[in-house]
């Protein structure tokens, strides 16, 4: 059973009371033990792999060396034949036969080391995958525990301070109202600033005789006269 399933089963089982941990400490310990075991296997497999790969390299070098020796001796044999020294050629041929069997032996060893190395590499990969998976699962368990404990802490804190988390609607309304107040205040002070700058400008314009002038008696009389005419 995967850890996600365990967590869900625990939740559905009603283990949601404050302070009640859903994943018992025991299963956390088992996980941690499994991780340590997997890590040990991994270290062992890697060490073994290094050994086998070293042996493989050795065998491969040996194969090359023998192959070179065979080629060399084949040359000697040919030369002996060319010189008509049949007896020497035979002796060299015997040496070649011996080298051939040595080569076959080394080649077999080399193949076996290669196969072993491939198997170990696969094992290392598999163990690494498993380890990552265990670590992911452990992290899920620990996060679940931590969130539960944090929730308990938050609930306790609110209970002891006699305050409580407001319901969502009220909270939003209060925040909005406060924001509205801030906005209104800002608008009001902007409007006030505008007005102030407006009136001071008007005063300056009037002083300079620009814009709307204050009505005086002579101007009124003049206007009446004009209308009559």
């Amino acid at each position: 059973m995967g850890i996600l399933n365990k967590i869900m089963t625990a939740f559905r089982g009603g283990a949601t009371e404050v302070g009640q941990t859903i994943v018992d400490a025991n299963s956390t310990r088992i996980f941690e033990q499994e991780i340590r075991d997997a890590e040990k296997h991994l270290t062992k497999a890697k060490r073994e792999l290094t050994d086998v790969m070293a042996k493989e390299m050795q065998a491969s070098r040996e194969v090359d060396r023998i192959k070179r020796a065979v080629a060399e001796h084949e040359g000697y044999a040919t030369q002996a034949l060319e010189k008509g020294n049949e007896a020497l050629a035979l002796e060299v041929a015997e040496k070649i036969a011996q080298l051939d069997s040595e080569l076959a032996e080394q080649q077999t060893a080399n193949d076996s080391f290669s196969a072993h190395a491939t198997r170990l590499k696969e094992l290392v990969r598999k163990t690494e995958r498993q380890l990552t998976d265990y670590q992911r699962q452990l992290s899920m368990v620990k996060t679940t525990e931590s969130v539960q404990k944090a929730t308990a802490t938050i609930t306790d804190s609110f209970a002891s301070s006699n305050s409580k988390l407001l319901n969502a609607k009220d909270s939003l309304e209060r925040i909005k109202a406060r924001q509205q107040q801030v906005d209104d205040r800002m608008k009001a002070s902007e409007a006030l600033a505008d007005e102030n700058s407006d009136s001071s400008l008007q005063a300056k314009l009037a002083e300079a005789g620009i814009g709307e002038q204050k009505a005086d008696a002579s101007a009124v009389l003049e206007r009446l006269k004009n209308r009559k005419g």
Binding site: K142, T143, Q148, A150, T153, S157, L165, A168, L172
Partner: protein, 137 residues
């Protein structure tokens, strides 16, 4: 990275935060250390921060099961699932009998990342409540 370094940073920002918010945080004592982060002007909906081995968890409570209009519960779930991807940085979740939005950050995150996470989470929270208030009693 622990809740105290986060608290010191946020409290020290004053008016000079990148996000324009003012933060007021204090640690809550308990089994696990939790930081209550209040954003000035939004004190009713705090963000709770806890730091685990490999992540920083930021959680805000939306509403309790008791606030949900039970007849529209399924509809609410569907809306939450639909909003889960579009909602930046945060996801919906349920802890005990409370619905929450949360964001998780790597412990390698910068303080600016943390600050941004908190402000986006708070914005998301207000928007979600505003949008989903019809599903509540």
């Amino acid at each position: 990275m622990n809740i105290h370094t986060i608290a010191n940073h946020l409290n020290g920002l004053g008016d000079n935060s990148e996000t324009g918010f003012q933060f007021d945080c204090y640690p809550i004592d308990g089994d696990v250390e939790v930081l209550q982060v209040n954003i000035v002007g939004r004190e009713e909906i705090p963000v709770f921060v806890s730091v685990t081995q490999n992540q920083i968890l930021c959680i805000s409570y939306l509403w309790g099961e008791d606030e949900v209009n039970q007849e529209r519960r399924a509809e609410m779930f569907e809306t939450m699932l639909e909003l889960n991807i579009p909602m930046p940085l945060s996801s919906f979740a349920k802890v005990d009998d409370k619905y929450v939005v949360f964001g998780a950050l790597s412990t390698q995150s910068s303080m600016l990342d943390v600050e941004q996470e908190l402000s986006v989470l708070s914005d998301n929270c207000l928007e979600v409540i505003d949008e989903m208030v019809d599903y509540l009693k």
